[in-house]
């Protein structure tokens, strides 16, 4: 065992992105990729796991193309995938505002925003496809916000200098997902997609080196079955729930991705986690999740904390000169509008120093008093009324009279399964789309880019790239009795039998909560060598205790929500460990990954391009994962240090 908990393997490279001018690469790849003729598509079966933006759009589009699609989700309806909760909007380089936007600018902003840790080819394709997404969604009837002239409205979002964000009030994710869901239901009615709701993927089936199927549990009957196919697409979302408290839905989990990882798929950049600065703080130990408040609040709200430590006065009693508007003080140029990672870390710093407000001192004020004085209460209400109402429902405090309390919370994970330009993992036949892959956001995702990537992957990229793989199919028939299939099923059965048979005394949630605390403490907004080493030890101990003491009630047959959670938390332990190992090895700070050892004199993140300009693709290796580096080459956007001073 090495001192850094891992060993280094051979480098990995993306062999699919064509060379040449970046504007032509996607065009070139689409032409060089082989096609499957329509008559043959009927003979090809594709499994899509997940029905969020990336999954539903992929399943619907593949169904339209004539492939036979089997689509799975653990929710009771495809419409409930967590994409539905995205609030802000979706970026597209339409330049409807004539404000200087272009495909190249969106590409540039995304590479820079990702702190130069993403692939130029992928990001450029994303920017190109962005405009088609908006057209597609409008054609589906997505009710984007419009102006009085009847044309689409745009707003500037997440500190972008151009207005390229399309939105549907604060529910853009919902409307886009319902568009994809409806397209999917249309295919279900047409018989091209078999949709299985309340089914959870528990294992990947690999036969002769190719992904050929999945093992699923019917969450209603408890029945374990296998679905076999010519290719498998994972669109299973992010893994922010490793922190227990996050803005993710309760069901979000890493199991599908982690099972694929254990079977050989590389997991890339697991430590890149986005922590969103404007969430409602935790109110007590009962807390099960954190709620995001739209970033747009920072456009008019001013962030401050009391200058005096542990000041428990009512905010109204704290005079102006005893308040520290720390974002405005530290970042005069951007003020309250600094990017997410910077705003989050600044909040942590002031709270760690003892200036935090609210329960446990984990909160800062977001004050609208000035905005109300300047614009009038009515104008503020028109802009943010629904958010204020939500805040009041959750906290019981009236934000018109008392400043909101906010605190950062885990929101999105940039890391994920490693994929090449075709969105294929290193396992042939296993494709990964949306938040589940690592591909486009580098070390930090810009606001309104997650929806763009999910739909880009599902509607436009995967359906074009998967044909190159499927052109070799149909692959030799595999049936339920194949030894690999039997083995995969047996692993699932054994895992379930273990949990139900374990004579434990602690609930799954109690372990999950504890794991989350370790991750948040040591692998959250600020990471250190010492802390990460400590975390790895703590996680390993807790994992051992989990297997010894976890108690799962109920039986294997029928709905058993505890059993579902146990399997997910078991995988979170292993993922959490890998995240810490990845964070430990990356001694630079970049994007959502801040290493205390790597900062400038005034406390800003310091990248180390000389040593870390690569994607860390991890191969499963039990206690000692293997690191494969994929070098990042920047031909069009020259890496610079970000500055928001």
């Amino acid at each position: 065992m090495s001192i850094d908990f891992h060993r280094e393997g051979s480098p990995v490279a993306d062999a699919k992105a064509p060379a040449g001018p970046i504007e032509d690469r996607w065009e070139k790849r689409r032409f060089s990729g082989r096609l499957v003729n329509p008559a043959n598509r009927r003979k090809l079966r594709v499994i899509v796991v997940g029905t969020g933006l990336a999954g539903a759009s992929a399943a619907a589009t593949l169904g339209e193309l004539g492939y036979r699609v089997a689509n799975y989700c653990f929710q009771d309806s495809a419409r409930r995938a967590h994409s539905i909760a995205a609030q802000g909007g979706i970026n597209a380089a339409k330049n409807y505002r004539n404000d200087g936007d272009s495909v190249h600018r969106l590409f540039y902003d995304t590479v820079k925003g990702g702190d130069f840790r993403s692939r130029e080819s992928n990001v450029h394709r994303l920017a190109e496809v962005s405009t088609e997404i908006i057209d597609q969604c409008v054609a589906q009837g997505v009710p984007f916000a419009r102006e009085y002239g009847g044309l689409l409205d745009n707003r500037s979002f997440g500190g972008a200098q151009v207005s390229r964000t399309f939105y549907a009030r604060g529910q853009t994710g919902q409307q886009l997902l319902l568009g994809a869901y409806q397209a999917l239901q249309r295919q279900v009615a047409a018989g091209t997609v078999d949709l299985h709701t309340r089914h959870e993927m528990l294992e990947l089936v690999i036969v002769e080196g190719k992904a050929r199927g999945i093992v699923v549990r019917d969450l209603v009957t408890g029945e374990i079955s296998t679905e076999l196919a010519d290719a498998v697409v994972l669109a299973t979302g992010g893994y922010g729930n490793v922190y227990f408290l996050s803005t993710n839905a309760m069901g979000c989990n890493v199991t599908a991705g982690w099972r694929a990882h254990r079977k050989g798929a590389y997991f890339a950049n697991p430590c890149y986690t986005q922590i969103h600065p404007t969430c409602i703080p935790q109110s007590g130990d009962h807390q099960s999740k954190l709620t995001l408040m739209s970033e747009s609040l920072r456009n008019d709200g001013r962030v401050w904390v009391p200058k005096q430590k542990n000041d428990d006065r009512h905010p109204a009693e704290i005079p102006e000169d005893e308040r520290d508007y720390y974002l405005e003080r530290r970042y005069p140029a951007f003020g309250n509008l600094v990017p997410r990672d910077i705003a989050s870390r600044a909040a942590k710093v002031v709270c760690d120093e003892g200036h935090g407000v609210g329960p446990g001192g984990l909160g800062v004020y977001l004050d609208f008093a000035d905005a109300i004085a300047r614009l009038g209460k009515q104008a503020v209400e028109a802009k943010y009324g629904n958010l204020f109402d939500m805040y009041e429902r959750i906290t019981g405090e009236n934000p018109y009279e008392r400043p909101m309390r906010i605190y950062p919370a885990v929101h999105y994970t940039m890391g994920g399964l490693w994929v090449d330009y075709d969105l294929s993992s290193n396992i042939p036949g296993l494709f990964v789309t949306g938040e589940a892959n690592f591909s486009d956001h580098g070390a930090n995702r810009l606001g309104a880019s997650a929806l763009m990537q999910g739909l880009s992957d599902g509607y436009f990229v995967l359906p074009n790239t998967i044909s190159d793989y499927l052109a070799d199919g149909p692959f030799p028939k595999v049936d339920e009795t194949h030894e690999e299939v039997v083995a995969a099923r047996r692993e699932v059965d054994e895992r379930i039998a273990f949990f139900l048979g374990n004579d434990g005394d602690r609930t799954v949630d109690s372990f999950h909560r504890e794991l989350g605390k370790i991750m948040w403490e040591y692998c959250g907004m600020e990471r250190t060598d010492e802390g990460l080493r400590k975390a790895i030890g703590l996680i390993r101990d807790l994992k051992a205790e989990f297997y010894k003491r976890v108690k799962v009630t109920g039986k294997a047959g029928g709905l058993n929500q505890e059993l579902e959670k146990a399997g997910r938390v078991a995988d979170f332990f292993e993922l959490g460990e890998l995240m810490c190992i990845d964070a430990l090895h990356r001694t630079e700070s970049c994007g959502g990954h801040f290493r205390a050892e790597s900062q400038t004199e005034d406390g800003e993140a310091k990248r180390d391009d000389e040593h870390f300009s690569y994607v860390a693709a991890w191969e499963y290796g039990g206690d000692e994962p293997v690191l494969h580096k994929e070098s990042l080459v920047f031909e069009y956007v020259k890496p610079t240090q970000r500055s928001y001073k």
């Binding site: 339209e64 419409r79 409008v138 009837g141 419009r146 009030r169 249309r186 709620t291 009630t553």
Partner: protein, 248 residues
């Protein structure tokens, strides 16, 4: 705070089921209703009992998973609020609270408070979409939509498909859910070509699924956490009449 709960327990779809009483102490008033149930479940598990099964996911009022009838009211006493956003400060110390699943023939109980709402998906499959295969779209600005139509379409499209309308309706009708989709798509120019087949198909699927008929009591709209109005039902009726006369 201290609570007396009576919760519907039913071990599986075929079991008889009944209300079971629990007492819960030291409930934080900052906890959400579902977090209160989490606390109860933690206790039940440690006592070796089967925890209460209930559907939930996003816990921020948008996914539409949560589905509890609290004291006879879908999503509980607070207007325009899903169960997951309902907080215990809306209750008083010592309160007795009844918790039941959505009750509808079209939503059979799977276990405890979990019901099967796939009938809603079946309604959407019968026409709740615009046929726009990927890649066929004209430029997004090709068809301007008057702002008031776009806003009205959005308001209807805000439906989260939770099923509170069915749970609240004295007739167990799914009219508001169905009408919200008909209104959303019917208010966009893209939705016009399929406007008539859509409403006929969806109404047939709705009736086929075993939902009751609408008698315009308005209970659906009053229970809707997204405050979808009865105007969408009017719109559906209008479209249905036109479509039916045209088909005849």
């Amino acid at each position: 705070m201290k609570l007396k709960l009576r919760i519907w327990r039913q071990s599986d779809a075929d079991a008889k089921g009944g209300m079971v009483a629990y007492e819960l102490d030291q409930v934080s008033e900052d906890a959400s209703f579902l977090e209160m149930l989490d606390v109860l479940n933690e206790r039940l598990i440690s006592e070796g009992e089967d925890p209460v099964a209930f559907d939930h996911d996003c816990r921020e009022g948008i996914c539409g998973s949560c589905s509890l009838v609290i004291d006879g009211q879908p999503h509980g006493p607070q207007a325009a609020t899903t169960t997951c956003q309902l907080h215990m400060r809306k209750f008083k110390d010592g309160d007795s609270i009844d918790v039941e699943p959505w009750r509808a023939g079209a939503f059979p109980v799977i276990k405890d408070l979990v019901v099967d709402r796939s009938a809603f998906d079946a309604i959407i499959q019968a026409g709740g979409y615009i046929s726009a295969p990927t890649g066929t779209a004209p430029d997004a600005h090709a068809a301007p939509i008057p702002k008031q139509d776009a806003d009205a379409a959005f308001s209807a499209a805000a439906c989260i498909g939770c099923g509170a309308c069915v749970a609240a309706c004295p007739n167990g009708s799914g009219m508001l859910f169905m009408a919200a989709k008909v209104a959303h798509l019917g208010l966009t120019p893209q939705g016009q070509p399929e406007r008539h087949t859509r409403v006929l198909g969806m109404v047939a699927a709705h009736d086929q699924a075993g939902f009751g008929g609408c008698t315009n009591t308005g209970e659906c709209s009053a229970a809707c956490p997204k405050e979808i109005g009865l105007d969408v039902i009017g719109r559906l009726n209008r479209d249905f009449r036109k479509a039916a006369t045209r088909a005849a």
